[in-house]
């Protein structure tokens, strides 16, 4: 079965970029526009991977990450953080909170596809 990936970003343009980047691999993509939606979708869908934007209005990516890690059902789900250069300081915090990887914005479609593939460990 195709791996399910949850994309959480408040910007439409970025979700479109992620969708297009991952389209060739035919994953099952689920989208969330903010932290609350992301947590709800994660509990419902049990994704194989979560792509989480660091900076979102309301619950930040770090807040969502902490919630995921605190939920026994979701604690082991790999989380890839999407970060901007202006938030490099938050990376250490995200790593400490259990993020599995980072991709800096801007990223090329191919770059994201490769990182996602690595994190899924060959699960297509």
């Amino acid at each position: 079965m195709a791996a399910t990936i949850l994309i959480c970003d408040n910007e439409d343009v970025l979700r479109e970029l992620v969708r297009a980047s991952l389209a060739p691999a035919s994953y099952r993509l689920v989208e969330a526009r903010d932290g609350d939606e992301a947590l709800e979708a994660a509990r419902r869908e049990r994704p194989d991977l979560v792509l989480l934007d660091m900076m979102m209005p309301g619950r930040s990516g770090l807040d969502v990450l902490a919630e995921l890690r605190g939920d026994p059902e979701l604690a082991a789900t790999p989380v890839l953080m999407l970060t901007a250069r202006t938030q490099e300081g938050d990376r250490a915090a995200a790593a400490a909170a259990g993020a599995d990887g980072f991709v800096s914005k801007p990223f090329s479609p191919q770059e994201l596809a490769e990182v996602v593939e690595r994190l899924l460990g060959g699960k297509a």
Binding site: A20, S21, A84
Partner: protein
């Protein structure tokens, strides 16, 4: 708009050749400018443009539509990164890239990022040209919301003001030319002229990438062959 005289006068006041743009595009943008500035007639807009440089800048940007975005239309960048750029780099590692009508520069930086990943950034020449100096200022800053372009990428890009339709191409030849979503705003005559200019600026084997709603009517007449949905390659001798 009442008459072409008004359009000509508006163009002179704004420092833009409005005759190169599609008339319906200009009319729609003038309407929008009137609304935005709270005016009712083009004559009032003309007075405003003559006296208010900030209004002039707003009008110029309305007409020349600096819509862009990093990796806008990702499928095109995917094609570039997976197929077109590796093929070009296999031929020679020194790539010359011209982003024609580069708007805020995000297109050229997207290419720079891909070239860096392919290990070809440092040898490459990257030029962005745009009609509006104010767009180039944004490009030079390289700051898009929360996203900041790294100095290594910024250093590699050059920027210049150029009206491609009237002034032609910068000295090349160019192995990759991107001109996406500029022709759609131009009159048919200016568009044909632009396409001839772009094709002529390509090195043999060079690639021209147009926007995803654009295509060349007769690529062969320009010495080009289609190599992707909106990509064309200049034939080698």
């Amino acid at each position: 708009m009442a008459a072409d005289v008004t359009r000509g006068a508006l163009g002179r006041a704004a420092g833009l050749d409005l005759t190169a743009f599609r008339p319906d595009h200009v009319e729609e943008r003038v309407r929008r400018a009137l609304e935005r500035e709270g005016l009712s007639e083009p004559a009032e807009l003309l007075r405003l443009l003559r006296h208010d440089s900030a209004a002039r800048e707003r009008f110029r940007r309305l007409i020349a539509v600096p819509v862009s975005g990093l990796f806008r239309d990702p499928a095109q960048f995917d094609l570039l990164e997976r197929e077109l750029l590796p093929a070009l780099l296999a031929e020679s590692p020194r790539l010359t890239v011209w982003s024609a009508g580069c708007a805020d520069g995000s297109e050229l930086y997207s290419i720079a990022l891909v070239l860096e990943r392919l290990g070809a950034l440092e040898e490459s020449v990257l030029l962005g040209s745009d009609l509006l100096e104010e767009n180039l200022a944004v490009a030079r800053r390289g700051l898009y919301g929360e996203v900041e372009i790294r100095p290594a990428l910024r250093r590699q890009a050059r920027w210049e003001r150029r009206d491609v339709v009237r002034e032609g191409a910068p000295p090349g030849p160019w192995r990759l030319v991107l001109c996406r979503n500029l022709a759609i705003y131009l009159s048919a005559a200016a568009r044909a002229e632009l396409h001839t200019t772009l094709a002529g600026a390509l090195a043999p084997g060079g690639v021209l990438m147009l926007g995803r709603s654009e295509r060349l009517v007769q690529p062969a007449a320009l010495g080009l062959v289609r190599v992707g949905p909106h990509a064309y390659q200049r034939a080698r001798p």
